[in-house]
Symmetry: C2
Subunit: 289 residues, 2 copies
């Protein structure tokens, strides 16, 4: 097969190391804050993160690590929102991987649990609403349980932004809030993603190669780990300050900052994937480029 | 300042993209399993992850995402172990950042909670013991609370491996299990790390530039996100099969596979940091190099 330029990039990286090239660090002076950014800096931002049995752990705790660390700098509140308050299983409930497939019993998997603080009924007013993926959303769909979609649709107007990670985009699409918008999702679940039906009858333009996709009010990321890259870009835009750069270097994460980098669309043979660019991305500490 | 080669690497990455170079994907045939690997594949591996108030969320859920996904392929059990069973706060309790510093009240930060399933008294026999960092371990130390260290020391002989993420290495060092070994930790907490006293009087060789450090029985990673890269390398070694490669591409994480890459040691001005290599690392889907 001839689809990777990764080893070329790695070879060149090694050449760079051998040459010990050094370049100037550019001064990173951010532009002045917009009025919207100033307002966010000076208020308490209400964040809601949806949980359901079978949520993917890193879909929640990748972006949430960034939000948690940002709450050192900015006033935020956090509601972890599920059907019922209390512990929510990460272990997926029994479900089919696709219509007509045999039921899968994943009860042998390990089961970290996270505590939901609110229900769909008593969740506070939200500025930011985040929706993870995970195979648990297949189980909900197969039980015709639309409680998550109905919550999203009911809160959409009051929110400033809605963001999904991984197949959370499928849930957004079903809720109708992606009607007429561009979006992406986990590249290993592309058939599930692109065949989802909106409850309001609209259609979504699914972007086959994207680490994340931005619309004015709705951002969607590709699978699991892509949520961290989306959240870094989102926080840069949302607050317009450099605190998120500081914290990324404190949590020692070198984010992918090019939203069009998506080698996993090639790995998973997504129709229409961009196969013409390198699978590799060269990353390093933010603020040092 | 002249300490970054990141922009050079990015420029060359762009050149690679423009040239649309393609290379052959090498066949990734893993070597035959060792007896130890065969045994692990065929038994239930008992995993314990320590929690304490003020644990860093991604210190737990980065590596745990990989373990969680691996439990689809392999039989594992998981104990989340704390002083008391039940919800454990990620929000740090009041503490000083260093001896003599004013007390910090971080009660305004957001507070995801994870459910501890076991206590230090009733935790099962463990094959793998994982220890996260987080500023909560400063609070424990300032209250002369050594319950975590005593648990680690008491279970060390029965475990097959102990792994720490971020300043979890400080806890390992204090427990005595790093006496005479090489280790690393979060590069933004290097003074705290290198001045820690072992309860058993030994000394640790702290490695200033390392994404992670391997000893025969104890692995330690650098800060927060580095735990995912360590866990990928660890799972490759532990099971010796390619399932972890499959799952890394399913969770769309391109790991750093070079344990000596550590630009954050440069960012945080760690004494002895290797400043001669590129801050950038070119990463892509595993199995495609």
């Amino acid at each position: 097969m001839t689809r990777s330029t990764l080893s070329w990039a790695k070879t060149l990286g090694a050449m760079l190391m051998a040459a010990q090239l050094v370049v100037s660090q550019t001064a990173n002076t951010p532009p002045p804050l917009t009025d919207a950014q100033k307002a966010r800096v000076n208020r308490t931002v209400s964040v809601g993160y949806i949980l359901f049995p079978g949520f993917e752990p890193l879909d929640v705790f990748g972006p949430l690590e960034i939000l948690f660390s940002m709450s050192f700098y900015y006033n935020m509140s956090l509601a972890l929102i599920a059907k019922e308050a209390g512990p929510v299983d990460a272990r997926p409930p029994p479900h089919q991987m696709a219509a007509g497939a045999p039921p899968m019993d994943l009860s042998y998997m390990i089961n970290p649990q996270v505590v939901a603080t609110h229900t769909f009924e008593n969740a506070p007013k939200l500025d930011l609403l985040l929706v993870p993926g995970g195979t648990g959303n297949l189980a909900l769909a197969q039980h015709n349980d639309t409680s998550v979609e109905r919550f999203i649709a009911s809160r959409f107007n009051e929110t400033e932004y809605v963001l999904s990670v991984c197949t959370g985009a499928v849930t957004l699409a079903r809720s109708g809030i992606l009607d007429g918008l561009r979006a992406t999702s986990n590249k290993g679940a592309w058939v599930e993603t692109t065949t989802v039906k909106s409850m309001t009858g609209g259609t979504v333009t699914w972007v086959p190669s994207a680490r994340w996709v931005e619309n004015p009010k709705v951002w969607t990321s590709s699978g699991v780990a892509a949520g961290m890259d989306m959240m870094y870009a989102f926080m840069k835009m949302y607050y317009g300050e450099t605190n998120v750069d500081t914290l990324m270097n404190n949590i020692e994460y070198a984010p992918h900052t090019d939203a069009s980098w998506d080698p996993f669309s090639v790995v998973h043979n997504v129709p229409g994937a961009n196969k013409t660019r390198s699978l590799a991305d060269c990353v390093g500490p933010v603020g040092y480029d």
